[in-house]
Assembly symmetry: C2
Homo-oligomer: 210 residues x 2
């Protein structure tokens, strides 16, 4: 999704965001699409009592707000900065016009959607059939493979337990307890928001499907 980004570079409008800032909110009219230059963003859906489910994380180079493309009039999700971030914004009309003209862009976007759909349906199955501990194990592996490790061996996407619980679709308390189990079993170690995977194989065992 990064190759053609420079091609439409000239039409960008830049914004900077502070931690906790909202890029767009579920239900807002769709007015454009965003690219992340720097920072980390969560994309989430809301539910009663401030409950939420994080459906995706984005970092530099990623696209946000694409769920508004097509026939949708309002964003079906909210996007919130997890740390200071810089985004560039494209008017929806401009972006749609680009899609009409730029076949490669459209093809990439289609493939991107296809991949997101697969991930999403996998997550659906996980939510339906996996225990919280299994979903946590899976989330850790996904975060590692998607964002890698930093210099110190931590998963390079630090998350509050709050956000972790929203990501795996469980309550804060349950997530906390399951995390403790993993720590006591020496499968992971945790220092504030920073997580180290000690025994990847044991995590994999927790998500065996059959």
């Amino acid at each position: 999704m990064k190759e053609w980004l420079p091609a439409i570079h000239a039409h960008k409008k830049n914004f900077t965001l502070r931690k906790g800032d909202t890029i767009f909110r579920e239900g807002d009219p769709v007015n454009g699409i965003f690219f992340l230059y720097s920072g980390k963003v969560k994309v989430h859906k809301h539910w009663a009592d401030g409950k939420e489910l994080i459906v995706r994380f984005a970092r530099e180079g990623d696209i946000v707000g694409h769920r508004g493309i097509g026939t949708e009039l309002v964003y079906p999700v909210t996007a919130t900065a997890l740390e200071p971030a810089a985004v560039c914004f494209f008017e929806i009309d401009f972006f749609n016009a680009s899609l009409k003209v730029n076949h490669d862009l459209l093809y990439e976007l289609m493939q991107f959607y296809a991949k997101e759909l697969m991930e999403s349906e996998k997550s659906m199955r996980n939510l339906a059939h996996m225990s919280v501990k299994g979903r946590l194990a899976n989330a850790l592996l996904v975060l590692k493979s998607k964002f890698g490790l930093d210099e110190e061996g931590f998963i390079a996407f630090p998350l509050s337990k709050q956000d972790m619980s929203s990501y795996i679709g469980a309550t804060y308390e349950t997530t906390f307890r399951m995390m403790n189990e993993l720590i006591n079993e020496h499968i992971i170690s945790v220092s504030a928001k920073y997580i180290t995977i000690l025994q990847e194989e044991k995590l994999r065992q927790l998500i065996r499907e059959d």
Copy 2:
């Protein structure tokens, strides 16, 4: 997704399916894409002990197997006929070539994916935050709005309780019990696979989000 179907009509290969036949299986190498001429199909993901989650239903005019498009080498889902069906098959190479050439087709496919993704993420949130009863209520409303009612006022997509439970992501027994509650509360009435919604408003109350 139906408008451009005739355009590539000449390249089709037809197949007929009996109830229970599998069109393709999760893990099979992707060899093509299917269009449903008639019949109903479920698209599902498997899990241990023969558990499954139905991620989508398709009927005549719908596309099946599109999840294999792009970089994927194997289907991430299984497609099974719920009743006798007729499909037409397109080689993946031919379909990909069409996408490269036919901009409108590609655009429609992209929009289709975008819509599917939104639905999928909505389902994710429902699985994470709604009770089984709420998910059942939601499923009934979705099935009604998607497939309509037949002449007798039944939801025009008869489902075994087995499939219903796989669709809402709960066990057979729980689904059964929740269905009984809805019946006892005179919200729905059921005759074998055929369901009538008696009080749509009460179903909506069960899925209030906030």
